[in-house]
């Protein structure tokens, strides 16, 4: 079946330690679209990122996720990455002793193998490293070090976008990529995303703040609250949230929840 959606999430429910976090989430993203998911703390934003990338912290209890017509939930994290899903981590991990170069070379060649391509030659690999480093304005010295080891917060986020540039995903999930960044670093990171994005690359931006969306302009903005998307709109919704905060959304959502629960009784 030919599907027009790159990713289609239907009635997704997921729990952590038997506590339901996602309570029936629906989202459809077409190739080339940018979606922003905003929401207060604890609404389930990071759990969504975990579920989509296959981290076993959360257990999916119901629903489906279809990625390019395939059942994403059946795939291991590495298979999802090879299919073209990329997560920019909220908290990138430091891995002492594993060099950035070796890490990227292994990752790229595993993905190439998956697509039936030969491994990159050493010179081609180094050329790409150089080119992508310039795109995200990452210090050359950093990529000669161990993965994220001793990087500042800003450098770690840049390094995530650098990896995205190297891996050229179909769908990028940016999990609070803006948190903890000063405005200059934010601009570099956001512009990096814009520069490396091809017309058919889709992006899901998960964020608390509207700030990042000045640079990565979304086609749609969704508000996630209590495990569900309670409101969707255009970029103007982000501005409204920035002005009015989340309380009005919470109230509305809680009221409809009550009504819904009452109706059930």
């Amino acid at each position: 079946m030919q599907t027009e959606f790159l990713i289609q999430i239907k009635d997704l429910k997921a729990s952590i330690d038997n506590k339901e976090i996602l309570k029936g989430l629906n989202l459809e993203v077409k190739p080339g679209e940018i979606h922003a998911i905003m929401g207060p703390n604890g609404s389930g934003k990071s759990t969504l990122a975990n579920v989509l990338t296959g981290r076993e912290i959360a257990t999916v209890t119901a629903g489906t996720v279809t990625f390019e017509g395939k059942n994403l939930l059946e795939m291991s994290p590495e298979e999802r990455a090879r299919e073209g899903i990329f997560l920019s981590f909220q908290y990138p991990i430091e891995i002492p002793g594993v060099s950035m170069v070796n890490f990227m070379k292994t990752a790229i060649n595993e993905q190439r193998k998956h697509r039936g391509l030969e491994p990159l030659s050493a010179s081609e690999f180094l050329r790409q490293m150089r080119e992508k480093k310039e795109l995200v304005e990452i210090d050359s010295a950093l990529t000669n070090r161990s993965v994220n080891e001793g990087f500042s917060g800003g450098e770690k986020k840049k390094n995530e976008i650098f990896q995205m540039a190297m891996l050229e995903p179909r769908l990028a999930l940016l999990d609070e990529t803006d948190s903890g960044l000063d405005i200059d670093a934010l601009r570099i990171v956001a512009n990096g995303v814009n520069k490396i994005r091809r017309p058919d690359t889709s992006v899901i931006v998960i964020t608390h703040y509207q700030r990042l969306l000045d640079y990565i302009v979304p086609d749609y903005v969704h508000v996630l609250y209590d495990g569900r998307i309670v409101r969707s709109g255009g970029p103007e919704l982000a501005l409204t949230l920035e002005e009015r905060g989340y309380d009005w959304i919470k109230k509305e959502a809680d009221v409809s929840e009550e009504t819904w629960t009452t109706d059930q009784k």
Binding site: T53, G54, R55, S76, P77, E78, R80, A81, R82, F86, L87, F89, P92, I93, I95, P96, G97, V98, N102, F103, T106, A107, E110, Q111, H114, S146, V147, Q163, L167
Partner: protein, 452 residues
Amino acid sequence: MDYRPEVTGRLTELWEGRETGILKDSPEIYNRYRTEAFSEFLRLGIPDRKNEAYKYTNLEKSFGHRYEQYFSPKPGDFREAERFHCEVEDLDVWNMVLLNGFFPRGDEGLAMLPGGIWVGSMKAAARQFPSLVEKHYNKYAQNENDGLVPLNTALATDGLFLYAPKNTVNTKPIQIVNLLHSTQDIFAQDRNLVVVEDGAQMSLLVCDHAISPQHYLTNTVTEVYVGRNARFEIIRVQNQHNDSGKITHTFIHQERDSFASSNNITLHGGLVRNATWHRLNGENAETHSYGLFLADKHQHIANFVKVDHAAPNCNSTQLFKGVLDENASGAFNGRIMVHKDAQKTNAFQSSNSIIMSDTARMDTKPQLEIYADDVKCSHGATVGQLDENALFYLRSRGIDAREAKLMLMFGFAHDVIKNIPIEALRERIDNLVLQRLRGELSRCASCAIQCN
């Protein structure tokens, strides 16, 4: 049942027949310590687990075996050893091959390497440098703690002698390839002395290879003197097999302003115990003790370290890491002793292990004894599994779980390897460790003889 009385009985027979047997031509400089040492051995015995330093190490597997021969080399034995070529590329070293810890041309004189460093057998050293040997021999080894040290003092027939006279610098590292080869199951004891005089420098690489499948047990004692402002580096690479036992005791004695580092890389071995003793005997000396081991099957790898801060303003570090899989067991016993006058001491110790299976086991025991009041000392020990977050991070980039685990283990190990001062060797050991972690490194993988 206690296996030890029988073994002690066999060693006593060897001792009693020494004058017409193994110690027939032994120099008096060495003989003068033997009687006292043997009675010390009888008093202390083969260490059992009641001995604090062997609490987690059971020697029975190695010492309980009935060896057919106490190794005492004859010229014909060295033929295999002379055919051996180390295949490490770009490793620019002075290369020497030993057999079961013994120097092939034991009866010839010492040789001088460019740069002025003397090398040869202990027997030849006793003839050529009697007063030097007299000054240093058996002065640093501690015969009163561990029965295996006096056993070596009593019965070791020969070993390697290295001497860097004042202000000499070896232009290339010295590589000692120590082959374990025999047609019989053997117990061997070698006794080595390294003297690095004031202002001299020596970098030493010792590779232990078992090249025939017999049972071996080696009990090695090495004394090292590092003079004022001198520098000494030793790297051991141990790649033996599951039926070989290797016990080493290395005593490094340092005078003021000196530097020493010891790096024990254990890739394979049925039972390996490396004891490294560092004594900082003069002010402003610096010493580093590193260790890395990879163990699986029923292997047991133990590291014992003692750093003695006997003088003020000295620095020491200890970093030991291990990866244990299947039924392997490991032990780390690290002691820092700061004497009363050793003010302004900086002493750090760290031991980290990764356990890959439910049946592997690691015991660590850090001990600090501090008698000075103005010191900085720290110790830390971790035993754990691979970091799940790091594993997920690698997998989320498309790297499969198995490869990701390997990368993490390798990264963990590299933390020790990066301290190896010789670059070509560092790369080689990175490679060996990677092969070992992939399960591709057999004990013969890097041997030219290919006996099987």
